[in-house]
């Protein structure tokens, strides 16, 4: 058995923007949550449980963002998710009949029927609709470390022109975490890995030990870290930064030879929502008749061709197992090479979007399960670890200021600041300044005014969500993202004047309070 010479740390960032529309069933965007529950969160939970049941000692870190927690905790969305599953079960039943003449397709129809039926059982009977508690369980038994994130995933390098708005993102992120997990978070996923040194003092103020940065957040730090991303560094203010390992990232993300592009894996874009006869599929697509993904997909990537072959579950599993072996061998070689150069055992940090696993890369959770089993049972030279455990074992680290950076395209702020979305920033800045103004004008307010001020804070935070800027840049669902920015800035502005004029419209306040029901415990005095 090889001696353990280093560590690998997986960090999955689970985030969705807050989407909650009690006023209508027509918002397609709400289904992002349902898709993520079925394809990512439940598969992760079931694979964690399998590992525990099999006695595999593993470690993983997940950031669960406050908007995601708020949605998972929302009774209406839980109810809608159950409806979503019932629809899919009904559709897969029809699919079993429809595909009776084709054995391979029929097997897949059965697979989807079983899978969605099982999701319904797990969600209702096992998890009692409470996925947060399900994740918390794994934290409580010591295999999962959950960290927090900015309140609404606001992008610090743009918000920090008013530092109080960054402070509020951190404060509410920490507060939300405590509400759901009953303890303080040790780490934070900086939204979009957007690092600015100005945030350090607030991170320390709210008890954050460590952050995750993009690779060059470490490599371009000042002074240059001697061990690159293979050891954490500590900022002069005392915030510890771990950097993303580039080699392992490339293996998963790469568009040329990344794992999720394997030809045996499920093809995301061939969905019966688009492929099936329109009249047949109409009850299961958007209310307005627009074709959308249903989640039932019958094809594998096959190759660079439009002629796709049927998905074969066993082949996909074989590929995942082969790739898990490859990843293990690569890390073993990497750590074997690194260990001679670092003072402490090297750490290879592998951060990914959680939704990559399962939603985009359908076999991702299974790959993770196999990999963790291999790491535990096979002869390799490293162990899994969480950043907190690493800090506790090896508290000595070089003092450096991490580089201002993000994990967006090209490494800085282009995704969230470019000609498609730059018009938004002045509104975010003015609303931030106005929120601080309100806190100073009406400190420690009571009653209706306090409620209105707290709602103002919620609207501001929701407007700051980096997702809207990202979606605009990305060019999909742009209208929705623009509307959300207008709605939150609009509601904020209206309330701002109502508060200043002492003419708060209770019905309006109640109405937007129902729609934007995040952060029940928020205290606007964080802007004071």
């Amino acid at each position: 058995m090889q001696e353990k010479k280093g560590y690998v740390s997986f960090v999955l960032h689970a985030h969705l923007p807050f989407i909650h529309h009690p006023e209508s069933d027509d918002y397609l965007e709400e289904s992002w949550l349902y898709e993520a529950i079925s394809e990512t969160y439940i598969p992760l939970l079931t694979n964690f449980q399998k590992l525990v049941d099999e006695g595999v000692n593993f470690r993983i870190t997940m950031s669960m963002t406050p908007p995601l927690l708020s949605m998972l905790d929302n009774k209406l969305l839980q109810k809608k998710y159950i409806n979503y599953l019932n629809q899919l079960i009904e559709l897969s039943e029809k699919e079993i009949k429809r595909t009776a003449g084709d054995e391979r397709l029929n097997q897949l129809a059965h697979y989807y029927f079983d899978r969605y039926s099982n999701d319904l059982h797990l969600f209702k009977d096992v998890y009692k609709c409470n996925l947060i508690e399900a994740f918390k369980h794994f934290q409580d038994i010591g295999v999962l470390e959950i960290i927090t994130c900015g309140a609404t995933h606001g992008y610090f390098p743009i918000l920090y022109v008013n530092e109080k708005t960054v402070k509020a993102q951190i404060a509410v992120g920490v507060q939300t975490y405590e509400r759901y997990f009953g303890r303080k978070p040790r780490g934070i996923w900086l939204p979009e890995c957007g690092y600015v040194p100005e945030a350090d003092k607030y991170l320390k103020e709210f008890g954050i030990d460590y952050i995750i940065t993009e690779t060059h957040g470490i490599l371009y730090a000042d002074p240059t870290p001697l061990y690159g991303t293979f050891a954490p560094i500590v900022s002069p203010e005392g915030v510890i930064a771990f950097g993303r390992d580039i080699e392992s990232s490339r293996q998963v993300w790469s568009s040329i030879n990344g794992y999720p592009g394997d030809f045996n894996y499920r093809e995301f874009y061939r969905d019966i929502g688009y492929d099936a006869d329109y009249d047949y599929i109409k009850p299961y697509i958007a209310h307005n008749g627009v074709r959308v993904h249903t989640g039932i997909k019958y094809y594998r990537i096959t190759g660079k061709t439009e002629f796709k072959d049927y998905y074969n579950i066993q082949w996909a599993k074989d590929s995942a197992e082969k790739q898990a072996g490859h990843f293990l061998d690569c890390r073993t070689a990497q750590i074997g090479n690194l260990v001679q150069y670092t003072e402490n055992p090297p750490i290879v940090l592998c951060p990914y979007d959680a939704e990559l696993y399962g939603h985009w890369w359908y076999e991702g959770p299974y790959w993770l399960y196999i990999l963790f089993k291999k790491i535990y049972y096979d002869d390799c030279n490293f162990e899994l670890i969480t950043p907190s455990e690493y800090i506790d074992k090896y508290p000595n680290m070089q003092v450096c200021s991490p580089c201002r950076s993000s994990w967006g395209a090209n490494g800085y702020s282009e995704v969230w600041l470019n000609p498609t979305n730059d018009y938004v920033h002045r509104h975010l800045h003015v609303a931030g300044d106005r929120m601080c103004e309100l806190a100073h004008l009406y400190p420690n307010a009571e009653g209706l005014k306090k409620e209105a001020l707290n709602q103002c804070a919620r609207e501001l935070l929701l407007a700051q969500s980096s997702d809207w800027l990202f979606i605009i840049t990305n060019g999909t669902m742009v209208d929705y993202a623009k509307k959300r920015i207008k709605d939150h800035i609009g509601r904020f502005t209206k309330l701002y004047y109502q508060i200043k004029d002492d003419e708060i419209d209770e019905e309006f306040l109640e109405d937007i309070g129902e729609k934007d029901c995040v952060f029940a415990d928020i205290d606007y005095m964080i802007y004071y």
């Binding site: 923007p17 490599l219 080699e247 568009s255 150069y341 985009w360 600041l417 669902m477 502005t493 200043k500």
Partner: protein, 334 residues
């Protein structure tokens, strides 16, 4: 009284009164039918008016519809509604009067119209009236402001505005044609390397992307104007308007300071910090027999990252934001 958006205010009142009307409906089924109709009509009327979009027209028609509602609903709704109505009319009147005389700040923000109309869910059982909202972002906030953000290590984004009050002051001081006889400029101050340069902008823009040569430097931006035509009241070649916040542009390369011989290590549990010579921490340098003074951290990184091109190591497009419908990731695997 502090300013408020005229239409916003009217609309809020309108919504209030109609919601109150809905309360009345619950009490009297007969009235419900009437009110529903009138609400529907109002919505249509409002939409039409809005699309025609002249502020004055808008105002009149809003006032009208408020008045109509008052009469339509006042029978069934008791005290609360009547009171609300009265207030509404008064406020509207005051606003109408005051609008003309108020400063331009009001005008600017008035553009941030929020229109609220009422729709009723068609189901007979459901009594609740939903407030349907529509917002536009304000065209401007009428503040004198310059803000700078770093888009990349070498690109800054700057936005600015001059309040109408300040514009008037410049006109008073330098004549009515002040803005026609001067041109706007941005002066970029690199306060780290202590140099400045200037670029011409124009009065049609309110933001600018600017290339700067030096990453990892502090910058602040000054907005000013320079004379371009004869103006007897201007006897200087530069008029200062405002200065931005100061930012540091991000670093974009591996730093190597050959002067630096020591690094600091901190025990994050105890807070104890120690100074160590770089050479003692780079065992590979010792192994390779290199002389400390000649070592290059980039060379060291090439050893650490032997499979990577460290000059371009961040050139991975991450599908950030975890938005499952963005399609950004899967498209990479096609």
């Amino acid at each position: 009284m502090p300013r408020k958006t005229k239409e916003t205010n009217e609309i809020i009142k309108q919504a209030k009164s109609s919601n109150t009307a809905d309360v009345a409906k619950k009490e009297s089924p007969k009235t419900t039918a009437k009110n529903t109709k009138s609400v529907a009509k109002k919505s249509t009327a409002k939409k039409d008016t809005t699309s025609k979009s002249k502020p004055a027209t808008k105002k009149t028609s809003t006032t009208k519809s408020v008045a109509k509602k008052t009469s339509a609903t006042s029978k069934t709704v008791a005290t609360k509604k009547t009171t609300t109505k009265k207030t509404t009319s008064k406020t509207t009147a005051t606003k109408t009067a005051s609008k003309k005389s108020t400063t331009t700040k009001k005008k600017a923000d008035t553009k941030s119209t929020t229109k609220k109309v009422l729709t009723k869910k068609s189901t007979a059982k459901k009594q609740k009236v939903d407030i349907v909202e529509y917002y536009d972002l304000p065209y401007r906030y009428n503040q004198t402001v310059v803000k700078v953000l770093a888009q990349t290590p070498n690109n800054l984004f700057i936005y600015w505005d001059i309040s109408d009050a300040d514009r008037e002051n410049y006109k008073k001081q330098y004549g009515e044609n002040f803005f026609e006889t001067t041109k706007p400029v941005l002066i970029i101050h690199n306060t780290t390397l202590n140099y400045s340069f200037e670029i011409d902008i124009n009065d049609f823009a309110n933001s600018w992307y600017l290339h700067v040569n030096d990453s990892k430097c502090d910058y602040k931006i000054e907005l000013g104007r320079r004379p371009i035509a004869e103006n007897p009241k201007i006897n200087t070649n530069y008029i200062y308007i405002s200065t931005s916040n100061e930012i540091e542009s991000p670093n974009d390369h591996v730093l190597f300071n050959k002067e630096q011989k020591m690094v600091y290590f901190r025990n994050t549990k105890t807070g104890v910090q120690v100074e160590k010579p770089i050479s003692a921490n780079l065992s590979f340098i010792r192994n390779m027999g290199k002389i400390y003074d000649n070592y290059d951290i980039k060379e060291f990184y090439k050893v650490l990252y032997k499979n990577e091109d460290i000059e371009e190591f961040y050139d991975l497009s991450n599908p950030s934001s975890g938005n499952p419908s963005s399609g950004s990731l899967s498209s990479k695997f096609k």
